[in-house]
Amino acid sequence: MAAANPSVFLLMVNGQVESAQFPEYDDLYCKYCFVYGQDWAPTAGLEEGISQITSKSQDMRRALVWNFPIDVTFKSTNPYGWPQIVLSVYGPDVFGNDVVRGYGAVHVPFSPGRHKRTIPMFVPESTSTLQKFTSWFMGRRPEYTDPKVVAQGEGREVTRVRSQGFVTLLFNVVTKDMRKLGYDTGPADTQGIAGPSLPQGIPR
């Protein structure tokens, strides 16, 4: 059947949004979504998700652990527009308003296997000090019109951001038929190549 002559390749991503390091904030939750090109289509799983609210751990690490699972499968004909995961972290400010604490994006790893990624997060800055004060006071910090903005390069030059913290992600990537379509992303794939042959010169 089609397996011999595939017309699409599949990319299965599962993993989790493991934890975050936001030294100043607590009680955060995160949203994730995928941004991908026009040649990509999700075939299974959830493209978007909102995690639970987590509090800081009591130990030294002060980690915010979500362990929020990601599980999605894409099909595509073209590696252009490879999926990116866009994360946005929200949490309450001093007045209890829900404000954004960070945006970040990273490409889903290209090569199959287990990958850990730590994404630095950032938020857009207010345009002026007065704005900053009022936004702090009103609890309406500047936000991106669409979190997916962080996955694209266009138009970013008009924004100014401040870095906030880190989010650690774990990906398990499985691909199918990429090699058949001529895309080699694997790490020194041993498929088809026999293992390291024995040295020839040794007499037996």
Binding site: S7, V8, F9, Q38, D39, W40, A41, S76, T77, N78, Y80, P124, S126, T127, S128, L130, Q131, T134, S135, M138, R140, P142, E143, Y144, T145, V149, E154, G155, R156, E157, V158, T159, L181
Partner: protein, 1632 residues
């Protein structure tokens, strides 16, 4: 097991447990009580008891228990069970024995008591704090420590003491009674613990004491007590470790014995008064037992052994180290304590202090400090200046070979220095120097002997010529010989000249030498001393005179002959020249003469022409002079003269000068004073040289005295170890005079040696130097730079500068193995530039060198490129190719020469790839492919048809196709529109990629004070729970939607004034509502024109049964059928919505062109029962539906408005056959006053989309955003003013849109008033009603409304609102409300009306533009798209709100409270109601209009219109037949022709006042037909809307078998191709 042992262990357990949680739970209470009780008990009792307990286990211990335990029993109520069980097993057997022992003890105590009684002690009364202190802190730890020390070492002090005490007690029986200590001790044990208040219980206890004994033991659990117990037991065990087993039984016995004595104390207690121990005794006892270490310093002698002086090691110079810091008092305490405990003093050192290790704590952190000697921490952080190291140097070593760096050596040998002039030179020296110089010259010349060489050469050449002239070998061609001879001859000439010059030079030099020598000699004679040892000897060499003469003569002869030859040659040449020029001259002469003759003639004829001719007489050639032949004698004369001048005369001896330094110098004493001074001065001077390498001094020579001969010999070799390639090598000559000053005389630049010169092979070279210093000396020295003269009279002055020569040699050193220590080629670089030079051939030899292969090769050879270096391989290859001859120099320059390597397919192949093409097109955002998803992975999967549309579009760009449009003009316009659209879209796409911050980041605006204040007020506002607030529906962004998610909800509420059926036979000529004249409409007088009610209107009869059918995207739903002309349905219809191509993006949704058609039908039931007889048994009817009218609402309006709610006028055809506007009489009365203001039927609707879609940005917002991005030609000030104005307006009334600037069709921002200007309507319209301005206005409005409507949102998909000028609008023949309104307004202005553009909201359009006119006394609101007009107070006016008015010279913003046209005042002169843009502060600058001066209208081609009419009719007929696929469609020709005649009438009357005549006519012609049909009227744009309209009427939907159809089309052409289309559709059924 031994019970006692067991007990001990239990107690230990319990006490430990008690220690841990002494104050928990129940025990807390009990322990408190115990403590209170125990306070009375002296603490030492325990210790005493302890000791005694150990010493005499058999006697005292049990007793103590007996006395103390009951006291503690009181508040406790522990069950005695555990103890009972324990005591049970051996107690009874022992009782007897114990009793006996107790008896004995009792008698003893009795006797003691008798002694004690007389001195009863006062009761102890101590402050609780004191007790506390004692019981808890003081004694117990002390005791404990004592106890432990007991256990550990038997030598402890207290132990000794206790031993004593024990001994005392032991010895008590022996001691006589009354011994104080024994007695006291006894008293203590017997009485001190007797608690009075507990007596009864004690008694009670006594009875079962034997049973409770163990229990008491167990109960002794108070913290302190427990502790004591434990300690005691431990002691007991530790003290008797070996005899444990043996003695256990004994002790047990003793205990039992003691227990047996229990009852005895009872009796004593009863009789005695209260025991009291005095404070004094108490303290004394305490003193005996307790030890409080003093805080005072211990005298040193106490701490040291006797007779030992303390020695202080530190003073003796030994290192002791710093003792740890301990408080003095604490130290004293410890010392005291140690002294008390340990008599050995082993804790004390020699200096009488406690031994202590030096403090282990270091004063500083262990990390070594960066700088120990500098205490400040900053010292380590200080930066040190380090000179930058030259980068080149380092890389050189990296790049260079494995040679160790610095092994390169340059040897500079400075052998000496000779001054050719020096200030201290005497005159003689000057001459001597000159002589020496000349002699050197002479020697050099002599060595070269150029003259001789040239002479030989001349001879050889002459020989050659000789042989050439008379060849011995005639095989050579004559020409070649001639040629060579000629060459030889010319060479002979040259050589001879050179030789003569050389010989002359030689001779003059010799002469000068002799002359200088003579001068010197005369000088020496004159000054009578000699300064220089110079001596010139001229040697004469005899020559053979005859031979010499012969040679001389021969030479001269040869020369003469040659000269002759030369001259003849020259002569001939000149002669030839002469002849030629002479001929020329002659010719000219002749011509001149002829001309003269002519002139004469001419002069006679035309005297005035003469002057002209003479103006250009031409260059008169000089008459050539014939050359003269030179005489032989003259030549000979010349040759001889020259020879005499330059050559040695024949026979003259050859002079050979020899310069020697053999002359004697006159000693100092014979010299005059000035000379002596000079010599002394010379001696004082010394000279040294500095060696500068790369302009840095590296070494200097020793300073050497200047010799009398002005020579300095250094003979020093400097070995320079170098790192850098030498860039310059300089010697500086310094002169020191005496000890004072050092002056720099001169700098000498030495050449850098070739890499081939190594030390031993280097020649000594001389470099000249000179200085510009001026020195004047007061002695014989001539000075420097100062004029002096040899002559006595001072004439013939000379100026000499200090100068000299340095002899040196510079060479590369050689290493041990003979290898030259030259930096490798990589280092042969002069700094950075030369490093480049090495690496880059271009910078070294210039770009031209690249083409010149020889230069390149030369450079390669020079720079010693390693041919084996792979880096140089291409270059080497190039050079080898170039030098081998087969040079290939490309004649082009390639920018990316490796590009081809990276192309994985050829570009043709790439272009052929469908996939690549698809990807390219998508990335270019070509509309067809913009949202193309999942481009297949392989070419083969891409179908060719994907590109078909696109290619077709590309092809059609230029081709105008008329298939869809029929009318060519429309086709052109459509094409043009398409192009405009594309260009705007492109502009928009560019603008879309230009982001503003607000596009990316949502940020709250900084609130201003008013908003803040408002929000503060809101906080204080009362809560009104009974006032519900409308909650907005949840909005859905369109991205994640798919087909079926969106539904369109249409709620049909009710309708008013539906036309009612007219019985076909009725002859009542009721005028239709629409037949009112213009004047009635606005000046409504309802009563006057209310139609006469036909008497035959039966109230009972069902006049009409209307139902509503809504179709959207070909989905059709209909309501139930209601009855009557004012039906109420209240039904909700639901339609699925499908976006085009499944693209639910905002832009896509905005461009949805679909309309919602709401058609109202009358359901007519026809009884078609054939047979009347069956009427009883069955009903056989046919339902027919008759179209009454429709409402059309575009989806884009619904989308942008989110909901549509209101009452709409139903578009009813002007003529509805069989129907009339019947009026309910009852209704008429009540509502007529309102209703009659308008004609027509109305439908109340509510339409919305579920779920609510985010309407994208409304067009306005988007425009304002885009406006910033688009450019403008308006004045910057004006633009700023508009922004300000808009901001102000938006602040006050955010919902009212304020329009100041709009975007024109080229995408530029234009101020809106520029659009308003009087423009002429078509002439023929004006001529229709020349006397009726109102009729003309209506006609004009109708004309405008006939221009097709095309919303901008559709044409420019969600981009922006474009305003075209009126001529563009008329050319395009499409536009939205604004264009219509602008045109209408302009026409009205032309007609002399006061007209404004009204911006506001209307139903169903939403934000729109209307036109407002001021008639004589009232305002009229015109809908430009429909041509209808309304009075200001018309309730059915679709304009619902007014936000601003725009006139030709100003903009007024509505700042009234209300915006409904019914409630506002249109008087713009009132500044309180209308805020004007141009005011006094900003006067109207007189903006020029963007509109054309005049509109030019072409008459529309009538024939074309007629043709179009036929084509449309044909097409519609075909369509109707298509829509009826299962039925036969018959066309009634007769009827059609009737209708066709009727339509022009309709057009003429604009659909009014014709119905009745028409009806009558139809009646007459088609009397036997039941007729239902109506004319449709539309502006013409395309065929498609016409078809849609016909389809929506549903005329074709009859399935009556014998139905016939009639269809007529009429097109009325208006100027500028504006076409009014009438379609009459009818169905006919023959009446039987």
């Amino acid at each position: 097991m031994n019970p006692r042992e067991e007990k001990v262990s239990i107690i230990t357990e319990e006490s430990t447990a008690n220690d841990e949680d002494a104050e928990v739970g129940r025990r807390e209470k009990s322990s408190k009580v115990q403590r209170q009780q125990r306070k009375k008990q002296p603490p030492r009792a325990d210790s005493e008891e302890m000791v005694t307990g150990k010493a005499q286990p058999g006697q005292e211990e049990p007793e103590m228990h007996l006395l103390s335990m009951p006291a503690r029993r009181g508040p406790r109520s522990l069950p005695p069970i555990p103890s009972m069980s324990r005591t049970g097993f051996a107690e009874f057997s022992m009782r007897e024995r114990l009793r006996e022992k107790l008896q004995a003890a009792r008698s003893k105590a009795e006797s003691a008591l008798l002694q004690e009684i007389p001195t009863p002690r006062p009761r102890r009364l101590r402050s609780p704090s004191e007790k506390e202190l004692e019981t808890e802190f003081g004694p117990e730890p002390c005791k404990e420590s004592q106890a432990t020390s007991h256990r550990n070492d038997s030598q402890s002090y207290s132990r000794v003491k206790f031993h004593d005490a024990v001994q005392k007690i032991k010895s008590k029986p022996q001691a006589p009674p009354g011994f104080p200590s024994a007695e006291e001790a006894y008293n203590f044990f017997t009485f001190s613990f007797d608690p009075e208040p507990e007596e009864p219980t004690v008694k009670a206890r006594a009875k079962n004491r034997d049973g409770t004994h163990q229990e008491e033991e167990g109960e002794e659990e108070s913290p302190a007590g427990g502790m004591n117990k434990m300690v005691l037991n431990v002691i007991a065990r530790a003290g008797t470790p070996q005899k444990d087993e043996e003695e256990l039984l004994g002790s047990q016995d003793a205990k039992d014995f003691l227990l047996g004595l229990d009852p005895a104390p009872d009796e004593f207690v009863v009789v005695r008064p209260a025991e009291y121990e005095g404070t004094h005794t108490w303290l004394e006892k305490e003193k005996e037992l307790l030890f409080f270490p003093s805080r005072r310093a211990v005298p040193t002698w106490k701490k040291l052994p006797e007779n030992v002086q303390p020695r202080f090691l530190e003073d003796e110079g030994l290192y002791t180290g710093a003792r740890p810091e301990v408080a003095r008092a604490q130290q004293n305490v410890v010392e005291n304590r140690l002294l008390r405990q340990e008599p050995e003093r082993k804790w004390f050192g020699d200096d009488g202090r406690i031994l202590a290790l030096p403090s282990p704590i270091k004063p500083f952190s262990s990390r070594p400090r960066p700088l120990a000697q500098e205490p400040s921490a900053q010292a380590g952080l200080e930066t040190h200046y380090k000179k930058a190291v030259k980068y080149v140097h380092r890389t050189q070593h990296v790049v260079g070979s494995a040679d160790p760096p610095g092994s390169f050596q340059l040897d500079i040998d400075i052998s000496g220095l000779i001054f050719t002039h020096h200030p201290c030179f005497s005159r003689e020296h000057v001459l001597a120097a000159k002589l020496a110089q000349l002699y050197d010259q002479y020697l050099a010349r002599h060595q070269r002997s150029k003259a001789k060489f040239l002479t030989d050469k001349l001879q050889a050449l002459r020989n050659a010529v000789q042989t050439g002239l008379y060849p011995e070998k005639p095989h050579q061609s004559l020409d070649a010989t001639q040629k060579t001879i000629k060459e030889y001859k010319s060479e002979i000439r040259e050589t001879r000249k050179l030789r003569d010059a050389e010989q002359e030079k030689d001779r003059t030099l010799l002469k000068t030498i002799v002359k200088v020598w003579k001068e010197m000699k005369s000088l020496r004679e004159f000054q009578r001393f000699t300064n220089t040892p110079l001596k010139l000897v001229l040697r004469k060499e005899k020559v053979d005179q005859k031979a010499d003469e012969e040679a001389y003569e021969a030479e001269i002869q040869a020369e003469i002959s040659e000269l002759m030859e030369e001259h003849t040659e020259e002569y001939e040449q000149r002669l030839g020249e002469y002849r030629a020029s002479y001929q020329q001259w002659k010719a000219w002469k002749k011509a001149q003469q002829k001309a003269k003759k002519k002139k004469k003639k001419q002069a006679e004829e035309h005297p005035e022409g003469e002057a002209e001719e003479e103006l250009y007489p031409g260059e008169e050639p000089v008459k050539p002079i014939p050359p003269e032949l030179l005489d032989h004698a003259v030549l000979e004369q010349q040759a001889r003269e020259r020879a005499a001048h330059s050559r040695r005369r024949p026979g003259e001896p050859v002079l050979l000068p020899e310069l020697s330094l053999t002359g004697s110098v006159t000693p100092d004493d014979q010299c005059p004073r000035a000379e002596v001074l000079r010599r002394e001065d010379v001696k004082r001077r010394s000279v040294y040289l500095k060696v500068l390498f790369n302009s840095k001094e590296v070494s200097r020579t020793v300073s050497r005295q200047l010799g009398a001969d002005f020579c300095v010999h250094f003979g020093q070799i400097f070995n320079l170890q170098i790192f850098n390639w030498p860039e310059s090598l300089t010697l500086q000559v310094y002169e020191t005079v005496g000890h004072s000053s050092t002056t720099l005389l001169a700098e000498v630049f030495l050449p850098i040696p070739e890499t081939t010169t190594v030390t031993r092979r280097a020649p000594v070279e001389e470099v000249e130097f000179s200085s510009s210093q001026h020195v004047t000396l007061d002695h014989e020295g001539v000075g420097s730079g100062v004029p002096f003269s040899f002559e006595a009279d001072g004439s013939n002055q000379l100026i000499l500068m200090t100068s000299g020569r340095v002899s040196h040699s510079v060479a590369w050193a050689t290493g041990d193995n003979g290898t030259p220590l030259i930096p490798p080629p990589s280092q042969q670089s002069l700094g950075f530039r030369s490093a480049l030079k090495r690496a880059d051939a271009i910078s070294s030899i210039g770009t031209s060198g690249l083409t010149d292969m020889k230069k390149l090769a030369k450079w390669a050879a020079e720079s010693k490129l390693d041919p084996n270096d792979p880096n140089n391989a291409p270059l080497m290859q190039l050079i080898s190719i170039a030098t081998s001859g087969e040079s290939y120099v490309p004649d082009f320059f390639r920018l990316e020469q490796l590009q081809q390597e990276f192309n994985f397919v050829t570009s043709e192949e790439l272009n052929r790839s469908k996939r690549f093409r698809l990807l390219c097109l998508r990335s270019q955002e070509v509309p067809e492919f913009r949202n193309y998803k999942q481009i297949p992975a392989y070419d083969r999967e891409i179908l060719e048809k994907v590109f078909q549309d696109y290619e077709k579009r590309l092809r059609d760009k230029s081709v105008i196709e008329t298939k869809d449009h029929i009318d060519t003009h429309r086709a052109i316009v459509a094409k043009y529109l398409q192009q405009v659209r594309e260009s705007v879209v492109n502009r928009f796409l560019i603008a879309k990629h230009h982001f503003l911050l607000s596009d990316l980041v949502v940020e709250e605006e900084v609130p201003n004070m008013s908003i803040l204040g408002l929000s503060l007020f809101k906080l204080a506002e009362q809560k009104r729970p009974l006032r519900p607030r409308r909650k907005g529906r949840k909005k859905v962004t369109a991205q994640n939607l798919s087909d079926g998610d969106i539904k369109l909800l249409v709620n049909i509420c009710r309708a008013y004034d539906i036309p009612v059926r007219k019985p076909p036979a009725s002859k009542s000529q009721q005028p239709a509502r629409s037949s009112r004249t213009f004047s009635d409409r606005h000046a409504a007088s309802p009563g006057a024109h209310s139609p006469p009610h036909s008497p035959d209107t039966p109230l009972s009869q069902v006049s009409v049964r209307p139902f509503v059918e809504v179709s959207f995207q070909r989905t059709i739903c209909h309501t139930t059928t209601a009855e009557g002309p004012n039906p109420s349905w209240n039904e909700e219809l639901e339609f699925p919505f499908r976006a085009p191509n499944g693209d639910y993006s905002t832009a896509s949704l905005q461009s949805v062109k679909d309309d919602v058609f709401i058609n109202i039908f009358d359901e007519v039931l026809h009884d078609i029962l054939e047979d009347d007889r069956e009427r009883g048994s069955g009903i056989h009817t046919r339902i027919e539906r008759h179209w009454l009218g429709c409402v059309k609402i575009p989806f884009s309006t619904i989308y942008s408005q989110a909901r549509i709610d209101g009452t709409f006028k139903i578009n009813t055809p002007p003529v509805l056959l069989g129907y009339s506007k019947e009026r309910n009489v009852l209704l008429e009365r009540g509502l007529d006053s309102v209703r009659s203001l308008s004609e027509g039927s109305y439908l109340t609707l509510f339409i919305t989309i579920e779920p609510q879609l985010v309407p994208g940005e409304s067009v306005r917002e988007k425009t304002s955003d885009l406006l910033k991005k688009f450019d403008s030609q308006e004045d910057e000030k004006l633009l700023q003013a508009t922004e300000k104005f808009q901001a102000e307006c938006a602040l006050k009334f955010p919902t009212r849109q304020c329009l100041t600037t709009v975007t024109d069709i080229s995408g530029k921002t234009v101020f809106v008033t520029r659009y308003l200007k009087p423009l002429n309507p078509p002439e023929e319209l004006l001529n229709v009603y020349p006397n009726n301005p109102q009729a003309t206005a209506e006609l004009v409005a109708r004309y405008v409304s006939l221009i097709p409507f095309l919303p901008d949102t559709v044409s420019f998909a969600g981009i922006c609102d474009l305003w075209s000028t009126s001529d563009q609008f008329l050319d395009l023949l499409a536009g939205d409300e604004e264009e219509h309104a602008v045109l209408l307004c302009d026409y009205f202005l032309f007609l002399g009306k006061k007209a404004w553009l009204v911006m506001g909201n209307a139903i169903p359009e939403g934000p729109t533009a209307y036109v407002l006119t001021w008639e004589q006394n009232h305002y009229l609101i015109w809908n430009p798209c429909s041509g209808h007009f309304y009075a200001q107070f018309d309730t059915f006016c679709p304009l619902k709100s007014v936000s601003c008015l725009i006139g030709p010279d100003n903009i007024w913003f509505n700042i009234q409270q209300y915006d409904s046209p019914l409630r506002i005042n249109f008087d713009v002169t009132k500044p309180k109601l209308w805020k004007s843009f141009f005011s006094r502060s900003l006067p109207y600058p007189g903006l020029s209009s963007v509109q054309p001066e005049e509109l030019i209208y072409q008459r529309t081609d009538k024939a074309a219109a007629a043709e179009l009419q036929d084509r449309i009719e044909k097409m519609l007929k075909e369509k109707i037949m298509d829509w009826r696929p299962r039925h036969l469609t018959r066309w009634n020709r007769h009827c059609t022709s009737t209708l066709r005649h009727f339509l022009p009438l309709l057009e003429r009357s604009q659909g009014e006042d014709v119905e009745d005549e028409h009806r009558a006519e139809l009646q007459k012609q088609l009397g036997d037909y039941r007729f239902s049909g109506f004319p449709l009227h539309m502006p013409y744009s395309e065929v498609k809307p016409l078809i849609e309209a016909v389809y929506s009427t549903g005329v074709h939907n009859t399935d009556v078998p014998n139905v016939e159809f009639a269809l007529a089309v009429y097109i009325h052409p208006y100027p500028k191709n504006v076409l009014s289309v009438w379609i009459y559709v009818a169905s006919l059924i023959r009446n039987r």
